[in-house]
Each structure stands twice: as C-alpha cells, then as structure tokens.
C-alpha cells in the first residue's frame, strides 16, 4: 500500500508472509483432497 493512502483510522500491523515448503497444519474442518 502506498503510504499516502493510509489515514489515522487505518491500522495494518503484524501481518506476515511465510514462504513454505510444507503446507501448514490444516484446521480440523478442512477437506483438502
């Protein structure tokens, strides 16, 4: 996001990207086939 698009009521924090080689453990209700 461009910095000039952020305002005082916009909060963006602690969002992370993870490059994986093995997918994360699925929650119980995932029906991966």
């Amino acid at each position: 996001m461009r910095i000039d698009q952020k305002g005082k009521n916009y909060v963006e924090e602690n969002n992370v990207r993870v490059d994986y080689t093995t997918p994360p453990a699925w929650p119980a209700n995932v029906g991966i086939k």
Binding site: M1, R2, D4, Q5, K6, G7, K8, N9, Y10, V11, E12, E13, N14, N15, V16, R17, V18, D19, Y20, T21, P23, P24, W26, P27, N29, V30, G31, I32
Partner: protein, 171 residues
C-alpha cells in the same frame, strides 16, 4: 437487500465464495473457504450500500483462483451503481491464507493477493466512497514459491485507490 446482526461461523466451502453485501454488525469467524472462485474468498462487495461493523476473524482461505483475492472489502465493479459505497469499522484479524496447494506440479500459477480493499479498477471514477476504520491485523499469508506464487507489486495487502478513482484514502 442487506443483512444485519449476521453470524457465519465454522463452515467449510469448496469452490464458492463467501459474499456478504450491504451488511451491518456482521461476524464471519472460523470458516474455511477452499478454492473460492473468481472475485474473492470471503468479504463484502458493496453495490452502493454499506458494510458497517464487520469482523472477519480466524478464517482460512486456501488457493483463491481466477482473479480473486482471499479477503476483500471493495466495490464489485465500476459505474454509478457502485457510487456511495461505504465501509466503516471493518476488522480483518488473525486469518490465514494459503496459496499454491493445488498448483504443485501444474503450469497454472497461483494468485498472491491476500487482502484487497478499494476499487476493482482504480482508473474508473467513483463518487461518495468512504473507507473509515479499517483494521488488518495478525493475518498470515502462506505461499509456496515453487508453485509460482509471487508477490504482486503491492504485496499481499492492497488498497486499490487513486485520485482518478475519486477516493484516494483508505482511512
């Protein structure tokens, strides 16, 4: 028609999107949306209405396809029908996006946009659009780089707005 005081929780869907429009006091919590089609996985598509006091928390979106993003809060298209769309107090928290699981060994590339706010096409004019009180916090975006997933120029979170679109701030 809109919806008020709406809770969607602990569902699993495959190859459909979870779309809630014109909503107030909405909670989408703990769902799993696998391979949502076309425009997005979970979110609010405004057609000139309001999305107000919306919580999207603890959901999983796996492999959004088509032109889709995992989570969205945006106008669905361009034109006067989408003017005066308002998004107020929208919180997208602690969700998980997993990209690439269905693309291993295939030529098709996975898309890599996690959260999309704003306009689907910022080169088109809008009027009366408001984004006020947007919180994106604690979301995780898993991508398998071997399947062709790569960041767009905007990264995983993209607020699509410009002076030309008629609203330049996501506030």
């Amino acid at each position: 028609m809109g919806c008020e005081d709406f809770v969607i929780t602990n569902n699993y869907t495959d190859q459909v999107q979870m779309e809630i429009d014109h909503c107030k006091r909405l909670q989408i919590v703990g769902n799993v949306v696998e391979r949502p089609r076309e425009t997005g996985g979970i979110g609010m598509w405004a057609h000139g209405g309001e999305a107000e006091d919306c919580l999207i928390q603890g959901n999983w979106v796996i492999d959004p396809s088509g032109v889709g993003s995992a989570f969205v809060a945006h106008m669905d298209n361009v034109g006067p029908r989408y003017f005066n769309s308002k998004f107020k107090n929208v919180r997208i928290l602690d969700n998980v996006v997993v990209m690439g699981t269905h693309y291993i060994g295939k030529k098709r590339k996975a898309h890599a946009l996690g959260i999309l706010l704003g306009a689907p096409d910022r080169s088109q004019p809008y009027q009366g659009v408001v984004f006020d009180g947007i919180t994106l916090q604690g979301n995780r975006f898993y991508a398998d780089p071997t399947t062709g997933v790569k960041l767009t120029e905007f990264g995983f979170i993209f607020a699509n707005a410009s002076g030309k679109s008629g609203f330049s701030s996501i506030i």
